[in-house]
Structures are given as C-alpha cells and as structure tokens.
Amino acid sequence: MFNKILIANRGEIAVRIIKACRELGISSVAIYSEVDKNSLHVRIADEVYLIGPSPANESYLSKEKIIKLAKEIGAEAIHPGYGFLSENSEFIKMVEESGIVFIGPSSKSVEMMGEKTSARRLMEQNSVPIVPGTIEPLNDYKEGIKIANEIGYPVMLKASAGGGGKGMRKVFNDSEFEESFNRAQNESLKAFGKSEVYIEKLILNPKHIEVQIFADKFGNYIHLFERECSVQRRHQKVIEEAPSIFVDDETRFKITKAAITAAKACNYYNAGTIEFLMDNNKNFYFLEMNTRLQVEHPVTEMITGVDLVKLQIRIAAGQKLDIEQSDLRINGHAIECRVYAEDVDNNFAPSTGRITHHRLTSGPGTRIDRGIDLMSEVPIYYDPLLSKVTTWGRNREEAIARMKRALIEYQISGVITNIPAFNWVLKQKTFLDGSFNINFLDNEFMPLVPGKWKEDSADEIEDVAAIMGALLKQKNISLTTSKNDIPETNQWLNQIYE
C-alpha cells in the first residue's frame, strides 16, 4: 500500500479523498491555488503545497508542476478526483512515465474513451447500443446539416473531447445549425482544448441512467448497479439517485452487462461509469464513459456499502478486487442533491464570497460531502459545487423524506445557494412518481424562474421573513457581510512550488 498520495484537486472531492487516505492510514498531500489557502481540503490534509495562482490552468491544471512536486515530496501515487486533469490522457501518461501510480485507469483506456467518436466506434464494434449519429467528428457545419437531415431533427451537437455538459447544443432545424455549431466548437475549445464536435440524434425525453463499474488489474470486473441522474439543468446533473425506480430487474441485468462489456472493450481498470440514455420503452443507448470517479458516487456507496474511493486506492496499489459480484446487492435507496453556490433567480449566476456560517445537517441516513467550512472562499475560478447532501432510506420515500428534513436543517451563509430550489423539486409530482426525464427541470422549473417557484412557500413563511426583515432594520443589527469582518492574523508563508 502507498505511504503518501498527492491529491490533484480541490473542493469536496479533495476532502473526500483525504478522508479515504486517513481511514487507510495513508499520508495525504493537498495542493492549492492562492485563493484556496483557507479551503477545507488544505486544512485537513497531512501536507499542503501552494501550486500556483488562482486560475486553474496555472494551478490545478498545471501538469508539470504537479508531477514535479509529487516526485520531490515522495508521493507514490496521484489521485486526480474528477474534473481538472482526471480524464486528461496526456497527464496520465506523464504520471505513468514518471514512475508514479495514477489512481484511475490507464492512459490508454482514457484515450480510447475520451475521444467520444472513437468511443462510439468501439461500442458499436462490441455490440453496445449507441445513440444514432456520427462516429467521426464533423468537418464543417455544412456536413453537419447534411447528416442532421439524414438522421432527422432534432439533433445534438457534442464535443468529441467532451463531458459534463460543456460544448453541447440542441439543434432543431437547418437555420440554427451554423451558430450552434460555432458555439459548441468554441465552448469545446475552451473547456477541453479541442474544438471537434460530432452529431447525435436527440432521443426524446430520455432518462439518464448510468452504471458504476470497477475492475482490478487482473481482469476482474464488477458493477455496482445503476444510478439515475435525470434531474439536470443545461446537461448538468443536479439530483442523482440509486437505484433508478424506472429500471426493473430484467433491464438492470441487460444494462449492467452492457456496461461491463463496454469496460472490457477498453481493457479498463479502476472505477468507471458508463452513461446511457434510456427511452420510454427501456431501450438504452451508450452515451459516454466517464473514466474516473463520479461526483455522484456517494449514492452508490450508500446502497452497496462499498467505499469507492478506498477501493480505487487499493486497486491502484495492485490489490485484487476483494468483492465479487454475488457479494453485492442493492440495500435501500439513496439520493444526492448537489449544493451549488448559485443564485437561481438571477440567471443561476455563480455566487462568490466567504463562508461566514455553516451548519451541517446531521442524524440518521444523512451524509454530507463538502468542500467548504467556516471562512473558506468560494471563488469565481472553479466549479461552484459547495457540497453534496446524500440521504439513505429503506425505500425511496424514506430517502426523500430525509432529504427534505436534511435540507431544512442545512444552513450556509456568505454565498447564495440552490438549496431552496431542491425544496421545490422534492415536492413535484413528476419527481415523486419517478416519471421525470432529463427535460424535467427545463420543462417544469425553468418557466417559473425567476421567483415564481417560490410562491410554493407558505404564506406563513413569508410573514415570518417580513417580520425578520423589519426587526433587523429596527434593531440595526450588524450582519457579517464583507470579507473584512473576520479577523485574519497574518499571511501564509509563501510556499509557491516552482
């Protein structure tokens, strides 16, 4: 087993990995950018190094600096988390060549699955169903229009290098095509450094169902069942759950089998997720493979009892899978809500600031994974995910009841969060009866933004808020607002690593 692991990430996932290291008795090394000096992941690591200025490409995306640091301090392995360099096959290759273990799949597997069109080709060859469309990048928008007419509108333009909803555009007719094509290319270039896009037929009102798989370096493969992540806004997952109430035993058998086939096709090891779209008739289509830990991994952990991050580390250290497929069964139901620093009613603008109050929720069946703590900064530079609230119940109803309870208890001040919007979602019939698909938020929530969705809140609550406002004004109570309200004794030593 490793003695020291460098975590090439920040926020809640860095914190999650540090906890896993601590439970395994491994020394954890955090890196941080200038703005993150008070971050929770920095506070709780065993060793910390300033890696560079705040912009990600000068810090968390700085391949050479990270690998050089790992070597100098004797880290035997690097955990990339998700995002940043986690699916960057070039980085993984550099890590492999430097003699450090990458906690994840081989650069080869990542390369095979990272380029979406070649991944689609590979799946087709292995009889894993794919969404109709091209298996090569488009040369130009004119070719795209031709193909769109062949497979029929509406279509999706997607970044070949993509993932996570970036560089994706729906197109409904020829006249929209050119601009959408340019925008998708631009976003793709910015997010992934490559502008190539391809085309897929738009599956109408599908569900997003994904399968967690795991493999060791000895060719043993298991799956840890499916997750449903259909509650999305702009292709970004917002609420995830496991299992999916839409998936029956027969479908589960088929989709998990397809997932393992997909993983085997790229000689995969470590944790991976195969994402599928599922239509009304429970037909499913390969969407992409995420060759890393997912944001939503806690729901799988809660229904299987398997600590995925610790398992990742063990597999990377060369251990065999100590779980067989027959050891696993679905225990209860888990739901995760992603708490973002965003102002829903202000065009979902990211909300930045310093965390001035943070009261976690607690009690039975409740878990929080968080990157924030008192006085940590929520900067503009990175993904605005603050924390994840996950609840478990013997069944879906209990998990939902606990989520409602947990969200009411959870208090964050200093930034505006999307917690209130979950309150709305968790009350909707479409969500409660499980009939929602990936257009649920766009169709039912977005028309109520800004503000109208709040009219759901009881009049009583409005009265209380009004009284509170008046009392604050009358008593002239000073509230923590600015960053200067909190004492700061002195500056950190400059530990820039160069």
Partner: protein
C-alpha cells in the same frame, strides 16, 4: 421608526413593531421574540413557533433571509422611505430608462447589438462567459439601446451596467 414596509416575493408586507414583544404583520398581531446565535444566524419565535433564520446583508443594503429551506431577498423601508421610493419609482417609470446589468461576473465574449438598435424582450444582447460556460443574456426590456458600456473581451463585475435601453 416602528412601522416598516417589507417587500419580498413581489409582495409588500406591512410590519409594525409594538411594545412588549408584539408585532403587527398585515394587521395581525403576534408575539415575536428574537435571539441572535452568531453574526448571521437567528432564532425568531412567533407565538409558540420557533424559526431558525440565517441572514445576510446584500450589496445593495437589502437582506437575504434563509428559513425553512426557502431563501428570500427582502427590501425593508420605513413607511416614510417607502413613500419616497414609490415616488422615485414612478419617476423612473416615466423616464422609460432601463439599465441592463451583468447578472454575474464574467467575460464579455460577444456583443450582439449596436448602439441605436431597437430590441424586444427576450432578444439576445450579449454572450458572457462565466465558469467556462457561455451564457446568452437576453433583453429584459423593449426599446432602443442608447449606450453600451462594455467591449468584447473585457471582464465585468456583477451588477455593472452593460448597456441602457430607453423606450
């Protein structure tokens, strides 16, 4: 100053703070008692019901209130201030002038209109990049663009005025 008008959720509430811990809200009297937990968190008792409320002061001096899982932005004015505000507002309405502000900090990628262009509600005005996403910002007013304060490639702060539309 014990009489306030509190605006939230597009509603206006009248609040009078009376002696002996009594508050009148929209004509209804309740017992109200406030305890402070820390600089942001409060416990407000309304009759026998407790409410945990987290408060923050917004850039514009208004209050943001989080309670029972809901978040409200409130504007609190004394009765006098409210009257003045209403007058001002009416004047502003008369001038038909509307500032289009940046809803978030970001980078101006593209300006899709020119000074002098007529725009309708919902028409795309600019593309702002934030958090690596391109956000198309659409007009919230109808009229003619009388000034544009940004150029492509520059960063804007939240709430900075991007352009002005007059009817």
């Amino acid at each position: 100053m014990n009489e306030f008008v509190v605006s939230l959720n597009n509603n206006k509430h009248s609040v009078r703070i009376l002696p002996d811990g009594i508050v009148e809200i929209n004509g209804r009297k309740v017992k109200a008692d406030l305890s402070q937990i820390n600089n942001c968190a409060f416990l407000l008792m309304i009759n026998e019901k407790p409410y945990e409320i987290v408060c923050n002061k917004l850039d514009n001096g208004n209050f943001g209130l989080l309670l029972e899982g809901w978040y409200f932005e409130t504007t609190v004015r004394t009765r006098l201030q409210e009257t003045v505000a209403e007058l001002m507002n009416n004047k502003l309405m008369e001038s038909h002038k509307s500032d289009f502000k940046a809803p978030m900090p970001g980078l101006v990628l593209k300006i899709k209109k020119n000074k002098g262009d007529k725009v309708k509600i919902g028409e795309p005005l600019i593309i702002l990049e934030a958090m690596k996403m391109e956000n198309e910002l659409r007009s919230t007013a109808e009229g003619t663009i009388t000034s544009i304060n940004v150029t492509e490639g520059i960063s804007v702060e939240k709430d900075s005025i991007i352009l002005t539309i007059e009817k």
